[in-house]
Amino acid sequence: MKVLRAVSRTKLYWGLLLICLIGALASPHSSSGNNIFLSYGNLTDVLRQVSITGLVATGMTMVILLGGIDLSVGSVMGFSTIICAMLLTKSGWTAASIMGVPAAVAVSFMAVAFLARFVFSGLASGHDETAGRRREIALGRWRGMWIPILLGLAAAVAVAWFTTNQVPTKFGVLGVLLVAPCVALVLGAVNGVLIVAGRLQPFIATLAMMVGALGIARLTAGQDNAVVAVYTGTNATETFEVLRSMLWGVVPMPSVFFLAAIILFGAILRFTAFGRYAYAIGGNIEAAKLSGIKVVQVQLTAYLLSGLLAGIAGVLFVAQYRQGKPDAGAGLELDAIAAVVIGGTSLMGGRGSLAGTFVGVLIFGLLSDILQLQNIDSNVQLVMKGLIIVCTVLVQEQNLGQLVARWRFARRTKTSAEAETAEPTRPPSAAKAQFAREHLDEAS
């Protein structure tokens, strides 16, 4: 039973392994006899291709864990590609820089100020002799308010100086990596505020943003530009190519962002109070509220981060495909949700993990790579992907131990019915209950 339980708990990873195995066995071979699927180039290609969906799915996991959903990520990413491409290719105060620079300044102020406060309160709680006091009171005026504000202002001034300096020329890599995600974060914050303060259903609020952000992106790009083309070295800085290069010739740059996000937010979800709160809220929001968790803050943060990650994905999209376009992320939200669900996160919230999402994203990516290598018709590919979603979720939802227990229990009751003459004093229902007690305990 122990082995079975271990298998059941890790079945997602076995699924990944199975897909890899199928891929390796079915893979075509190159003329020199190498297995194409297992070649390093192909595997890094897969990692590169899933990075954009993966980043978005990372944010989506946090939102779904809270029992919410973010449909706006695709449009927000599209908006981010437009901002990024325009900043790269157009100098002066265009619509993109007019929106981007203030957004970056505001976000950096807020981020640094809150971070400073967070650090102070963390330090203070270490020395706090009278546990249970509210931290705001414990921190005092200077460390609680003025120092964070001053630090935030300093950061804002630095960012303002850095970005406005880039406006007359075109933006560089660091500039777009700072500004485009900040703009996306602001959209994510709008989502969060609508949901938290406006008490809108996450589905409705983010649906509105999904439609709205597409419109904003098109207005930003302008009537005459459906697509903003980026030619590095010609109309944009050549250093931008860094974002699609291989880091030290080993890992594709987009995947570095993806892996970093998975590790960072995975650790946050697992080891920090924020992570525990997220699970608690997703599990039972009323209980979480009553036990003093600041539900509003956690929810706001999740939507904000989802926007931020979609923004980073947008920059990577521009780097990879050399274009920004409002509909760049069309359908992306559904891919991300599918990956999250395959990864075992419950759409009801409160259950799931980023490790699961990582595997879910990989399963999706590997599957489409295998189908592509097998040269399967695009229409058939769609069918296969639908099947995979259904199958993995079906398997995910079953607890293997319980299944076996149920099966054994069915067999046992059958044999006990045959042996009824030998043991007439024990009614079958009692045997059933007894058996269930013994075995379901063990299985769960």
């Binding site: 291709q49 009537q223 592509q372």
Partner: protein, 305 residues
């Protein structure tokens, strides 16, 4: 009264996509706006559609036209996204005795005043013929071909496929490497398809993209894999000045085939109708081969060089 109401309804429905953008961008002609031409565009997300809008606006400046689609119009120009969707609205307009000129993709009714569009089948054939020529000429053409489909659910993709194969299928030396792989008209999806195709196939001679952005996406994938020099020919379709023609002039695509927007011609025909002339039921816009030889001329004409 009833007719007015109906018109309001049908025109807003048909023109939902552009109503927001058009009025600001399309300034009504100065003094004597004689005619009101309703124009409905299905989407402005694709570069080709944007060019389409530019063309029709440029042409409109030459005539005393006014674009007012929510009021009573003299003639309606409609460009549907797919054939079936707009048929009902178009029929209602025809019932109300408003002439309808359908642009680019047709609707499912024979009653329309005129249809103007490119012939995707003919363009596909032109591409196929050119591909056979590039790969060694009729009867001896040799080569591995990668074809990247447009949206599988759209008629143009099927026409561009069928036309191409009408020529290339006759060549026993031509081998097709991909089996109906659709990039959905998008540069990024074509890039991903090509990345895998490059891993899977060591020798690729010709890439045929059902539009220019996909052909360019495939080129980028080959370039990033360091194999753009191995691939001899890349063909696209559409020939927009700031896309296909630019890429051809840079030598990134071998050639592209013009799929002219019916914007300018549509408005000319509408004006002809309003002046009381009779229209032919169908006008087919011709295609044109764009290679490095004539690309720079086209760019100069469009002020891009």
């Amino acid at each position: 009264m009833k007719r007015r109401e109906f018109l309001k309804l049908s025109a807003t429905m048909a023109g939902a996509a552009v109503t927001i953008y058009m009025p600001s961008a399309w300034r009504p002609a100065k003094a004597a706006a004689k005619w009101k031409v309703g124009f409905s565009q299905c989407t402005t997300l694709e570069p080709w559609r944007v060019q389409f809008n530019k063309d029709i606006q440029a042409e409109a400046k030459k005539y005393p036209c006014e674009n007012l689609i929510v009021q009573q119009v003299n003639v309606l120009l409609v460009s549907p996204k797919e054939s079936a969707g707009l048929t009902g609205v178009v029929e209602k307009a025809l019932d109300a005795k408003i002439p309808v000129i359908v642009l680019d993709r047709n609707v499912d009714t024979k009653r329309i005043t005129q249809f103007i569009g490119g012939d995707n089948l003919a363009i596909g054939r032109a591409a196929g013929e050119y591909a056979v020529k590039l790969l060694g000429g009729a009867g001896k053409a040799q080569g591995n071909v990668v074809e990247i489909w447009g949206g599988m659910g759209t008629q143009p993709a099927h026409d561009r496929h069928d036309g191409f194969h009408a020529f290339t299928d006759k060549e026993p030396g031509i081998k097709y490497l991909l089996n109906n792989q659709s990039g959905d008209w998008k540069q990024d999806q074509a890039y991903n398809i090509m990345t895998t195709a490059l891993r899977n196939n060591e020798k690729i001679d010709l890439i045929y993209g059902h539009n220019d952005p996909m052909a360019y996406g495939a080129y980028l994938a080959a370039k990033d894999a360091g194999r753009d020099k191995d691939i001899k020919f890349i063909l696209g379709i559409d020939g927009l000045p700031d896309e296909g023609v630019t890429w051809v002039s840079k030598g990134q695509l071998t050639a592209t085939f013009l799929y002219a927007t019916p914007g300018a011609e549509g408005l000319r025909q509408a004006v002809k109708l309003l002046r009381g002339e009779k229209l032919e039921p169908v006008i087919t816009l011709p295609t044109m081969l764009i290679t490095k030889d004539n690309a720079s001329d086209i760019l100069k004409k469009n002020g891009l060089l």
